[in-house]
């Protein structure tokens, strides 16, 4: 147990022995500090989110938009429509499996790359980071198109390099989704690696030295000193990856020319084709609420960890 296992000590609001001058404004300080963030988030996402929840209990489509009629409340109709659709459950399972694969591969490769970045000469590290940032900067609708070209049946470079002739990567959805996973991982690793690397540089060197002096080998140093130190950052990066990968849309949509067959449908695609393109915004909002609830369920254990880091007493 090193000092790094202790969370940053939460400043008690009435610390004895501290300068009395700062005692009175101090209780308000944290609230002032988070106020700007709260204002922006509540205005842009908070209120709209409340609207989404309310909408999920209403029927709101073109008929209501164009007729000035106020949308009727239909109770749980939208929800029962979703939950009674057998396709919905297949899609959820597929999304969960796909998310698990995408996140684990991205994290392993991303953290591995970050560790590698620590150990290479500075110029190599510069090359890697530059490559990663460029890959990160390419928008998904461009990168997916590039991967689609590379995996094209007749003229794609992948078949050419692997000597596969005219292999079609998309008739079998498992192969097609593998390509989609590759695109997602390719796009996600830069963010994971760079953020993790930044955290790695903050591991106090003297702790590593101390552990080494105590006879710890590379692995023990990693698990005993490094990992606990970067854990808060790793945890949020993983959480964000789960959230993003759960909602992957462009990579599969564009890869399948805007018409993915049922085998390729994830929750985001299902929501889009069933709800948004039908202009049924009440139904679509219910799907969004169900998506958030599913994500919360998936991450409940994780979220406890997230919040507890910094609380351990």
């Amino acid at each position: 147990m090193s000092i790094l296992d202790e969370p940053a000590v939460a400043q008690p609001l009435r610390a004895p022995g501290s300068a009395p001058v700062s005692r009175r404004p101090r209780p308000r300080l944290p609230y002032l500090l988070i106020l700007p963030a709260i204002v922006v988030l509540v205005a842009v996402i908070g209120f709209p989110l409340i609207r989404v929840v309310i909408l999920s209990f209403q029927e709101w489509g073109l008929a209501q938009i164009f007729s000035d009629a106020s949308p009727p409340f239909v109770g749980l109709d939208n929800y029962s429509r979703i939950l009674s659709d057998p396709v919905f459950w297949t899609v959820v399972v597929r999304t969960l499996v796909l998310t698990a694969i995408m996140v684990s591969v991205s994290m392993v490769v991303g953290v591995g790359l970050a560790l590698l970045m620590e150990r290479v000469p500075a110029w190599v590290r510069g090359c890697i980071t530059f490559s990663l940032v460029m890959a990160w900067a390419v928008p998904t609708f461009v990168s997916t198109q590039i991967f689609a070209w590379m995996t094209e049946q007749n003229f794609g470079i992948l078949n050419y390099v692997l000597g596969l002739g005219q292999h079609n990567w998309y008739t079998d959805s498992r192969q097609g989704l593998t390509v989609a996973t590759l695109i997602v991982v390719w796009g996600a690793v830069p963010f994971i690696s760079i953020t993790t690397y930044a955290a790695l540089t903050q591991v106090p060197a003297e702790l590593v030295e101390a552990a080494r002096l105590d006879g710890a080998g590379g692995r023990q140093v990693f698990f005993g000193v490094t990992l606990p130190s970067i854990r808060p950052v790793l945890v949020i990066v993983t959480a964000l990856s789960v959230i993003w990968d759960f909602s992957v849309f462009n990579q599969i949509w564009i890869l399948r020319n805007g018409a993915p067959s049922p085998d390729y449908q994830t929750l985001a695609i299902y929501a889009y084709t069933q709800a948004y393109q039908g202009h049924e915004y009440g139904y679509a909002s219910a799907v969004a609420v169900v998506t958030v609830l599913l994500l919360l369920a998936v991450m409940v254990f994780y979220i406890r960890q997230l919040v507890q880091i910094g609380d351990a007493e």
Binding site: Q153, Q277, G278
Partner: protein, 427 residues
């Protein structure tokens, strides 16, 4: 003299208008009208005929000199959702372009102004292409103005066909299949060569065969409900003909759509494909090889069921509509009138498409295949929910399944029909 009079009238009317209404500013009609007109066109207009848009606005400004016209070009993805948001938020445009297959849903929900009484105001309205007019008609009333159209015909490379001794375009199905066989034989060793590029998700390549065999995609019953008829015997026959052509001539990914046909032809790996004039122009345009321009020609797709007949082509294109919630319907109608005037429609034809009327057609010999199709075109049924059927991708996936042989044509179409009917007949 007239100008000065108008200017004086404008000045006087503006003075009175401002004095009278103090705040809103969007008032009046005719020369004293003042305000903003918002037009939503698709990005195609920006790329293909920006000058036509300018011409229309100039013409409009002669009649309404104080109305500021803003043309905003929309991307195809999500433009309808944006329209919904704008309508809800009170900022709907005054004129909006919609694809012909997108109109039904909005017309069915009373989104657009009824233009039946004003039909005569628009140029050439008595000779509008029927399929285009049908796409803008709902329950007998007109809710849009046909803007431009587009059909499909066979595009081929003269040099590749000449290599196997075919020097004039095939006029019958037998001749076409003969050409396909000759081409496939000549290029046997090249597994990436397609005599006829015809993939599975090319829906407007498949559907015409249904209509050619006497079938249709959906039929409305007396009680107003719809039956999807992809599995009717005629439709099945048509689809089998389609598949026969694909099996004979296409070697490539069957799950894709037609957007890579032109590039395959540029690379010399496709001798023929069936598509719009826009795709034809891409073969020798900026994204293609300009040297091929003289080698490209078109012919109308011959019918496999009628010895001297041709496959009826799908008439696509766009219409212009006036949202019912718009504040300036008169101005909108005037702008649309300017934009669909004969001079401007000619620019659409010059841009490689079809005008909204049978009277204005191109004389470009390269476009012969397209002009010939005008004799017999069809459009999708005016079902309120047909757009949703498309968005669910049921039809596209059905075609892809048939193409990749995931079952018999009868089985696949029967299953698809059931799914389509559920959507078509949803409230």
């Amino acid at each position: 003299m007239k100008r000065r009079f108008i200017a004086a009238a404008v000045a006087a009317a503006t003075f009175f208008a401002v004095a009278a209404c103090g705040g809103s500013g969007d008032t009046g009609s005719g020369a004293d009208a003042k305000g903003d007109l918002t037009v939503w066109l698709q990005v195609d207009a920006q790329t293909l005929w920006p000058k036509a848009v300018e011409a229309a606005t100039t013409e409009f400004t002669k009649q309404y000199p104080n109305v500021k016209v803003t043309v905003a070009y929309q991307a195809w993805a999500d433009h309808l959702t944006k329209f919904d948001a704008a309508a809800q938020g009170g900022t709907a445009p005054d004129v909006i372009e919609l694809g012909t297959t997108e109109m039904g849903l909005y017309m069915g929900n009373s989104a657009f102004a009824d233009l039946t009484a004003q039909k005569g105001d628009f140029a050439n309205s008595d000779s509008w292409i029927k399929a285009l007019q049908d796409s803008a008609t709902y329950n007998g009333k007109l809710y849009g103005v046909p803007y431009y159209g587009g059909t499909r015909s066979v595009i081929y490379r003269k040099d590749l066909l000449a290599e196997v001794g075919v020097t004039s375009p095939p006029a019958t199905w037998a001749a076409l299949m003969d050409a396909v066989t000759k081409l496939s034989d000549k290029h046997k060793a090249d597994k990436t060569f397609s005599a006829f590029f015809l993939p599975g998700q090319h829906q407007y390549g498949a559907m015409p065969f249904i209509y050619d065999a006497g079938g249709q995609v959906a039929k409305q019953n007396g009680d107003g409900t719809w039956d999807a008829t992809f599995s009717s015997p005629e439709s099945v026959t048509g689809l089998k003909n389609w598949k026969a052509l694909m099996d004979a001539g296409y070697h490539g990914d069957r799950t894709i759509n037609d957007l890579t046909a032109f590039s395959t032809m540029v690379a010399g790996k496709a001798a023929m494909f069936y598509d719009t004039s826009g795709q034809m122009k891409k073969v020798f345009g900026k994204d293609g090889d300009a040297k091929l321009k003289d080698q490209i020609a078109t012919f109308r797709l011959p019918s496999p069921t009628k010895a001297d007949g041709f496959v009826p082509a799908f008439m696509g294109g766009s219409d212009l509509a006036i949202p019912a919630k718009g504040k300036h319907k008169d101005w909108a109608a005037a702008w649309i009138k300017a934009y669909t005037s004969p001079a401007v429609e000619q620019q659409f034809v010059d841009g490689g498409f079809m005008s909204n009327t049978t009277k204005i057609v191109t004389s470009d010999p390269q476009m012969k295949g397209y002009v010939d199709t005008l004799a017999d075109t069809w459009t999708l049924p005016a079902a309120k929910n047909w757009a949703q059927v498309e968005k669910n991708k049921i039809v596209l996936n059905m075609f892809a399944d048939i193409a990749t042989g995931k079952g018999t044509v009868e089985e696949i179409t029967a299953a698809a029909d059931k799914a389509i009917e559920t959507t078509l007949n949803a409230k």
